[in-house]
Amino acid sequence: MIDHSDNQFDSDRKISALYRTGSTAQPPEHIDQAIRAKARQSAKLTPQRTRSRWAVPVSMAAILVLSVSLISLIHKEAPRVSDINEAITEKEILPQSPAVTVEQKAQKSTIGIVNNQESPASINESIDMSQNDLSVEQKQQKIKSINPSSSSRKNMAPTKTEEELTTDVPMETNIQQIIPQPESQSSTHKISEIAGASIGPSTELKRERHFENNKNCALLSHNACLDSEECSLMFNEQKQLVCKRSMNHCDVGFIQRSDTKESCETKQECVYVSEPCFCPPDIFCVCSGDQLPQCRPQEAN
């Protein structure tokens, strides 16, 4: 059996060898050339795929460049945000004491108009009063740094200028501006303003502000003016009732409707006077007992 298998194996090997010996046929040369030529022709039309090989690295590089640009842009923007935050913080710190005064005055006043939202004008005032020693340039820089922060406040467009904000603010906000400042700051400041004590570049600024304040007092009704510590109701040269900014240490803080002669004359060199107050028939009379009380400096009397 084993011999038989071995014989078969040998026979198969011999058959295979014999077959391969006789199998030497080759394709003719002209067919070789034809096929190679066809392959060359086709290879010329083959699109080179080098592009796809570079596609991944190139796209990754592009993504990297875009990311870096974006990050650098974000970093450039970041200081602006911090500046705004800083300005907001400064704004919150600076008018702190006047804000307390505002609340106190609101309680005292019968007008009861209190608006915690500060207008740019009041911000300016706060800066000016709390930093009298600052130069004009420093003040202007401060105003510029604070004004952008108004964008963080609600209902105000961030691009508005100081002037626009002053003119755009509602009546209540303007009224709030005339609410008297603490005596320790505002009265002495006003006196020095009127007397021209302030010399140099800041005088012009203060005059402008005084004009603004007078304008704000003029916006008050006569009743509100009587209740105001910063404004005084008086007669002008044409004998017409006008509401003007309180101009001296006597009438600043003097509430015409409720304060008495004693409260006026407790201040040094102040005297209580009352003028006949005529009520025109077409308006509501604001004078009690036909008197318009004033608290004036003694020498002016």
Binding site: I15, S23, P27, Q48, R49
Partner: protein
């Protein structure tokens, strides 16, 4: 053979990059086995062999971008050749008879027609080729793929689309017949 120069990589170089030198290497390696496979399958019809041989390579060149190196290149090439042969046979309707008994008789007739060639080695080769060509188609194809393309049984099964056991069986029957037919002087 280095990995870079195996058939599959060469074909990828040609198909994707148009590397003509890669094609030349492939062609040199496979042209003779493929030509003989087609020649034997067409029963030594030279004109038909040349025609089919060109068609096979043309098909390979034309459809080179569809080549996927999931199979051996030689398997892929011989599958193309086999399909081309089958298409041709269907077209001309000359499918060879695959009855083993009839073929055995045909082989016997060939032997009887050439009694003077037994003594010589060349005669043995010619006799063997004659016997091989008279084998049943499946056995004939399996025998040729085994001896011309140098394919192992697994690759033959892949090319012909049958199981490995079928390939073994066909080859066993073919060898048995050839052993029986070949004269002792040749073995």
């Amino acid at each position: 053979m280095s990995y870079d120069n195996n058939d599959e990589n060469l074909m990828l170089k040609f198909s994707h990059n148009g590397d003509i030198s890669a094609f030349d290497v492939l062609y040199e390696r496979h042209k003779a086995p493929l030509f003989r496979y087609i020649l034997k399958q067409t029963r030594h019809n030279n004109a038909l062999t040349e025609e089919l041989f060109q068609e096979v390579w043309s098909n390979l060149i034309r459809a080179r971008e569809q080549y996927q190196p999931s199979a051996r290149f030689s398997t892929y090439l011989f599958q193309i050749a086999r399909n081309r042969i089958i298409d041709h046979v269907r077209r001309v309707s000359v499918m060879p008879v695959s009855d083993p008994e009839t073929n055995h008789e045909d082989i016997a007739n060939v032997t009887n027609d050439n009694p003077d060639r037994y003594a010589h080695n060349i005669d043995c080769i010619e006799q063997l080729q004659a016997y091989v060509s008279k084998l049943p188609d499946e056995q004939h194809e399996t025998f040729i793929l085994k001896h011309e393309g140098d394919h192992n049984l697994g690759h033959i099964a892949e090319i012909t689309g049958v199981t490995l056991e079928t390939v073994k069986s066909r080859l066993r029957y073919a060898m048995k017949k050839l052993r029986a037919l070949m004269p002792e002087e040749c073995l």
